[in-house]
Amino acid sequence: MAPRSPKAYDPAATVAAEGPTVSRNITDVVNAGLAARYRAEKRFRAYGIIAILIALSMLATLFATIIAKGYPAFTTTVLELPVTVERELVANAQGEVTPESIAFANFATPLRAALDAQFPDVEGRAEKRQLYAILSDGATFALQAMIRENPELVGREVIVEAPVSSDFDLLYKGQIDIALPESQRRVNDRQVAWFQALQDRGLVDSEFNTILFTNGDSRQPELAGIWGAVVGSFYTLMVTLALSFPIGVAAAVYLEEFAPKNKWTDLIEVNINNLAAVPSIVFGLLGLAVFLQLFGLPRSAPLVGGLVLTLMTLPTIIIASRAALKSVPPSIREAALGVGASKLQMITHHVLPLAMPGMLTGTIIGMAQALGETAPLLMIGMVAFVVDIPGGPMDPATVLPVQIFLWADSPERAFVARTSAAIMVLLAFLVVMNAAAVLLRKKFERRW
């Protein structure tokens, strides 16, 4: 760069030479084009609004259908039936009522007797079976639980809140069309008449469906709940979180801060980005081959589900963590190094704390993704019908989205509402998790 001569550029001379002639034209030219420019801008904004409206209407439709279908599942129908449990029914050979004797007693008998008492004119085995079909199997459990808690009720007349079977639940909710010919519905005319009679006597009531939130899966819709799936999801996510967060952060820190920039690290980076796009069922096949076949881990276990989902969420967490590390300004790194911090001190004292909100956001989003994941879990047997609430990560379990899949696949009509209810619960969890991620990001954004 040699010293420039002062005459190389003289703005005044330039303006004098070409300024005035151009400037008059420029105003006209600008004015002529202005309307078109504003039109283009308006058009562009209209496109954006249309796109958002389409997306919003889809979302609204989704929520509307799910809520409309799902809300009846949050209530259940019960018969407030006066029942007397005779002493000889629950007593053991010595004539004593013990917890054990209660456990072995047949509580269906007093319930049937109570129904018989309501309709003394019903006779014959076939008719009686139709009458007894009003009550769910859950009614015996309800009565048993009542007696177990308070054995003094034996021999007295008590009011049992007995759940009705799902068909009558639907009937009460008006979801069975009585106008249809008898052969095309699951409740016949006599049953409808009996149920109507019970209703007229004020014995039918609707209450909040606690069973849906406390029970595991069941073949009977009125007894099926999501609690088993929620617990399964919880164990699965805990395993995923415990593995993917430390591994993901460690990998991101190494790649971003320590790894030399060469072909190998480029290759690793490309592969991590590729893994993020691999269909999740492939991870399920990998889990089947490695964790189940090779390591011999139990099938249907949240542990294996967590391992598979760890593989699936790792790329997400690594990519988010690397972005968070990259966004820490170099000035902070230089400041730390400048006062004599070692590289590790620089990272642990300054870079990681600043990158942590971004890393956590990425992790929460990864977890939300894992919570909603179904396909890889089908491969490792988490699609099994599991009635028991899992007691740990090694017990057979299923997870919420798989439970939804199972219920959606069930032939019983009553599962339709329960499927939607389970979707609502899953969506609520996802919304909470994503909101947490957003809040976290808002709270810690740009502290420097």
């Binding site: 760069m1 000035s331 790194r333 230089e334 400048g338």
Partner: protein, 283 residues
């Protein structure tokens, strides 16, 4: 522009204009001792040759200013003095740079220890997003300088005092350092640098982001700090170099063109490039 030819010309010119050991030379005389000295220092960023064969001595308890047009390598050279260039993968340094006679690029030298001895203040004030107290306590803490809490507090207070910041912040030591004004932040960074008792403080355009009043305060501070520290400052402002430094080095395209007493550089530059730069004809 034919920078190749110019660079070659500069080199020959520099060699002709500044014979070693005389007044206005980049090297100290036979009787004097240099705090930091560089011989045949070269820096490469990949293929780019950023610093070319620089030989320069920096005397103790003096302020040495590096001036020169943008991209001339003055910051690069400054960052060699505490091995800050180590953090850049593609950067490679050859030649010798010594601190008190010991080669700082020696394999046995611990870079952490070096940076404790050679502190640095950056162009943009960069306090940690922590409290004012923590900002200054960080260095002493990681080096284990303070044996107990009282000692640490004392170090923090003296550092703030020396940086001329104590009066302004003593009531809010627990407030975040990022909440201070730009000039205060920069003085906080200076306090942070002196908290680990370095021997040399490198300042990379410390006032370029500050207003004139804050700049004046920093310059005053630099002049005071000279009693206890050796200071090297990179600056774009020639007035600033003239005001604060005792010696000035002029860099151009990676070459050290001229170095000498500040007064001599600004009143009687030997090299026509220096002359051109300080009179504002280019740069």
């Amino acid at each position: 522009m034919n920078s190749q030819a110019t660079a070659a010309q500069v080199q020959t010119d520099a060699a002709a204009a500044a014979p070693q050991g005389t007044a206005g030379s980049p090297l100290v005389g036979p009787g004097e001792k240099a705090k930091v000295s560089a011989r045949k220092a070269n820096v490469y960023y990949g293929d780019k040759h950023a610093i070319k064969d620089v030989a320069l001595d920096i005397k103790q308890n003096e302020v040495t200013a590096f001036i020169g047009p943008s991209g001339c390598g003055k910051s690069t050279f400054l960052r060699c003095l505490n091995r800050m260039n180590d953090t850049i993968d593609s950067a490679r340094v050859t030649g010798t740079i010594t601190l008190d006679g010991d080669d700082i690029y020696d394999r046995r030298v611990d870079v952490v220890q070096l940076r404790a001895r050679v502190g640095m203040v950056f162009q943009k004030p960069n306090p940690f997003p922590k409290s004012i107290f923590e900002n200054i306590a960080y260095g002493p803490r990681i080096h284990g300088i303070a044996r107990h809490k009282d000692e640490l507090e004392e170090i923090v207070m003296t550092s703030l005092e020396r940086a001329g910041l104590l009066a302004e912040v003593k009531d809010r030591l627990d407030q975040p350092g990022t909440g201070l004004s730009g000039g205060q932040q920069q003085r906080l960074c200076i306090a942070r640098a002196i908290a680990v008792s370095p021997e040399v403080i490198l300042m990379d355009e410390p006032c370029s982001a500050l207003d004139p009043i804050a700049t004046a305060k920093i310059e005053e501070l630099i002049d005071e700090l000279r009693q206890n520290y050796t200071i090297v400052i990179v600056t774009h402002s020639m007035q600033q170099a003239a005001r604060v430094s005792q010696r000035t080095a002029f860099f151009h395209l990676g070459n050290l063109v001229e170095c000498g007493d500040t007064e001599q550089i600004f009143t009687n530059p030997q090299h026509r490039l220096t002359q051109g730069y300080i009179t504002g004809r280019f740069g």
